[in-house]
């Protein structure tokens, strides 16, 4: 039996943490802050090295004997391959501008969550083995040995970074911590040190085409479920097609929209919109995932999982690709797809068949974001909208990190939302647009076992939501990201109860007046619409 401490010993509680340089503070790997380690079967499915089940809480992570050499060779290879990485390892002057910009630091107060120190965790190893000053002067030059503790510390904190890039916005040198984290995770993956919340979906995606591992018939039956609900709500029969060759447009969306509320309501919005427009489009049960958890593993894995989108577009012979509401999906599509798997010279520059607008911004990738597509329809008055159907909602908008900072997508979502609802309130300036705060669960960190981490990381975002909730009675937090739709509901439940979460196209679906529809009495969630026949009046829940 363990020795019980005496009351006098228990009473000796020091409330003040020791003031030590970060390098001397031993990292305590705490439950609630990390995700489970990747399973052997998932690592093996992706042909990643050192496939074995490892438990984070156990001392032995079952690393290969030459793990240190593997990491150092990995660093060397990436210094030569990625000029950004090499520059970011050298140029930081530790001015501190980024220090208080990370949501994890803001929520926790843990100095190792400051972007500058998160980078130093790896930079210190770089100095030790790749710079003369580090080799000669060691710790004095900010260098340290790569030992097992250092490796575990890097693992712990590089899976506490959501690659949101808020810090990079404030760095005078433009150092992008997201890229450092990406490389850091690549290095960890050389040793099989992924988390299962990333590795599992990536493995599913590689085998089945989507993160959830949905097979074609399941995807079809899920969409049919929505169609049945939509028929009840609108009286209209919608008949989308799947894997149809010769369609003008291929539609690709994150699979979360097909199998988890409230994303499902967003998917219903897409279906209604496309039907109303008479769009010549098709779903694919092969390119059935817009998201890309390979991006949180390595660049090679991201490329591999992204490949299917162009392959399917080519197989079906479509002219261009339309993409659903997602965050990191768009980071990959917008910034990497052309380089990974382009040029998509078999496709045409996207042109809206309804308005004739040519989307020059997608000239390279040939893929357009649905919110841009819908905003263009609204700008050209092509939709019959009744925003009063969203009058029971007081709405704010969370800029997803990847669409705002990653692709400058700021006005279109707001334009769409304001076109379909009458009560919109932006959050305070420092918390939106380019400066938006992360949901705290991005880059594959939206597992359940790290709920504590997610709540503290999401606090700056929730704090701003609470402000508009108290000031304007906001009861709906909209977004254009599938991970947001999955992770913001518990965040709101903890910090701002009473605020629900929705994708933008759910509101579009509510407001869209469809030809031949019956009188709507409920919204897409089957909740009564206030003031409409059948509704009992009063405030309907979202």
């Amino acid at each position: 039996m363990a020795k019980l401490p005496k009351p006098s010993e228990l009473a000796k509680i020091s409330l003040t943490p020791p003031a030590k340089p970060w390098m001397d503070v031993v990292t305590d790997i705490r439950q609630g802050m990390y995700c489970h380690g990747a399973k052997a079967k998932n690592l093996a499915a992706l042909e990643l090295p050192n496939a074995r089940d490892f438990k984070v809480a156990e001392e032995d992570w079952q690393l290969p004997e030459d793990w240190k050499e593997t990491v150092l060779n990995g660093i060397k290879e990436r210094l030569e391959k990625f000029r950004t990485f090499h520059v970011f390892m050298d140029i930081c002057v530790r001015c501190g501008a980024c220090a208080d910009k990370c949501h994890f630091f803001l929520g926790s107060g843990d100095p190792k969550n400051m972007p500058v120190i998160r980078a130093e965790l790896l930079r210190s190893v770089y100095r030790k083995y790749f710079t003369t000053a580090g080799k000669v002067f060691g710790k004095t030059a900010g260098a340290r040995e790569l030992d097992i503790q250092t490796l575990k510390e890097i693992w712990y904190y590089y899976f506490q970074c959501t690659e949101c890039r808020r810090c990079s916005l404030f760095c005078p040198y433009g150092i992008d911590q997201a890229e450092i984290t990406i490389i850091g995770r690549e290095l960890l993956n050389l040793l099989g040190l992924n988390i299962d919340w990333i590795c599992g979906p990536a493995a599913n995606c590689y085998r089945k085409g989507n993160h959830l591992g949905l097979e074609p018939h399941t995807i079809k039956s899920s969409v049919e479920f929505f169609l049945s609900d939509l028929e009840d709500i609108t009286g209209i029969t919608i008949e989308p097609t799947f894997n149809r060759k010769g369609a003008e447009i291929l539609f690709v969306t994150p699979s979360g929209d097909l199998f988890a509320d409230p994303g499902t309501y967003t998917a219903m919005g897409y279906l209604m919109l496309f039907h109303e427009l008479g769009l010549d489009y098709t779903w694919s049960t092969y390119a059935s995932e817009g998201g890309n958890f390979g991006f949180f593993t390595s660049m090679d894995m991201a490329k591999r999982l992204n490949y299917k989108i162009y392959a399917e577009a080519k197989r079906l012979g479509v002219k261009w690709i339309l993409g659903g509401e997602c965050g990191h999906m768009w980071r990959v599509l917008h910034q990497y797809m052309d380089t990974f798997n382009g040029p998509a010279d078999f496709l045409e520059v996207p042109k809206s068949p309804i308005t004739g607008t040519v989307f020059d911004s997608a000239k390279g990738t040939k893929m357009v974001h649905i919110v841009e597509f819908t905003a263009d329809l609204m700008k050209n008055n092509k939709l019959n909208l009744d925003p009063t159907r969203n009058d029971h909602l007081k709405v704010t908008y969370h800029d997803s990190c990847n669409t705002s900072r990653g692709m400058g997508f700021l006005e279109e979502p707001r334009y769409v939302i304001k076109s379909v609802c009458n009560h919109f309130y932006d959050m305070p300036e420092d918390t939106i647009r380019e400066k938006t705060f992360c949901c705290g669960s991005g880059s594959g960190l939206n597992a359940s076992e790290n709920m504590e981490l997610r709540m503290r990381g999401g606090f700056p975002r929730a704090n701003a939501v609470r402000h508009v909730h108290e000031k304007h009675g906001v009861n709906l937090l909209t977004n254009i990201c599938a991970i947001d739709r999955a992770s913001l509901p518990p965040l709101m439940d903890y910090w701002v109860p009473g605020v629900k979460v929705a994708g933008t196209h759910e509101l579009v679906g509510n407001a869209l007046v469809m030809k031949g529809e019956k009188e709507r009495t409920v919204d897409l969630r089957n909740e009564p619409l206030p003031g409409k026949a059948g509704a009992e009046g009063g405030e309907a829940d979202v």
Partner: protein, 188 residues
């Protein structure tokens, strides 16, 4: 002079001291940052500084204990997801005693307000019990969120895949009255 008047007069230095004591529970780099006044870019610092002022005003006014709950909740909700043990998370309530004594003890002695001080400290003790309840509620909420998220994800997929079904309401019947099956055993 009553103790409440003394505390009102010394509100600012007491709050400063209390705030400093709370910040000392964070690593020094973080404490330095949490001092900054900004509602949205420093939510933790703001929540603590605003929360302790609200609690302090409540304590002085002699308001019913239950009225402090939202202010305590705001602070504890934050500390419940930081790297604190339960005792460390709620210890900030006791820091009010330390702050009052540090700033006002001489005057309390001079004015012979020891009985009032004892009353105040009893209220703070009661506050700390409430703080512990709130801390537990926050932690339970975290586990609820974890469990619910896992359950909802799984159940949704099982339902949509047709692996599980629920009894649906039949039209025209009142839910609960349509079940006529008598239990074979009495269930206590």
């Amino acid at each position: 002079m009553s103790l409440s008047r003394l505390l009102t007069a010394q509100k600012s230095p007491i709050l400063d001291k209390w705030f400093a004591l709370i910040l000392s529970t964070y690593p020094s780099d973080a404490a330095q940052f949490f001092r900054k006044k900004s509602t949205f870019t420093n939510p933790v610092g703001h929540t603590i500084s605003q929360g302790i002022e609200d609690i302090f005003d409540g304590v002085i006014s002699g308001a019913a204990l239950e009225q402090y709950r939202p202010f305590l909740d705001n602070i504890i909700r934050v500390r419940a997801v930081q790297d604190f043990t339960a005792s460390k998370a709620v210890a900030f309530v006791f820091h009010l005693k330390t702050a009052v004594r540090a700033v006002c003890l001489k005057k309390i002695a001079a004015e012979r307000l020891h009985d009032d001080l004892l009353d105040l400290e009893l209220r703070i003790d009661e506050l700390s019990l409430m703080a512990f309840d709130i801390f537990m509620q926050c932690r339970e909420k975290l586990y609820d969120l974890r469990a619910n998220e896992l359950r909802d994800r799984t159940l949704w997929i099982l339902k949509r895949s047709g692996y599980v079904t629920e009894i649906e309401d039949e039209p025209g019947e009142i839910p609960g009255e349509r079940i006529n099956v008598k239990p074979t055993k009495e269930v206590n």
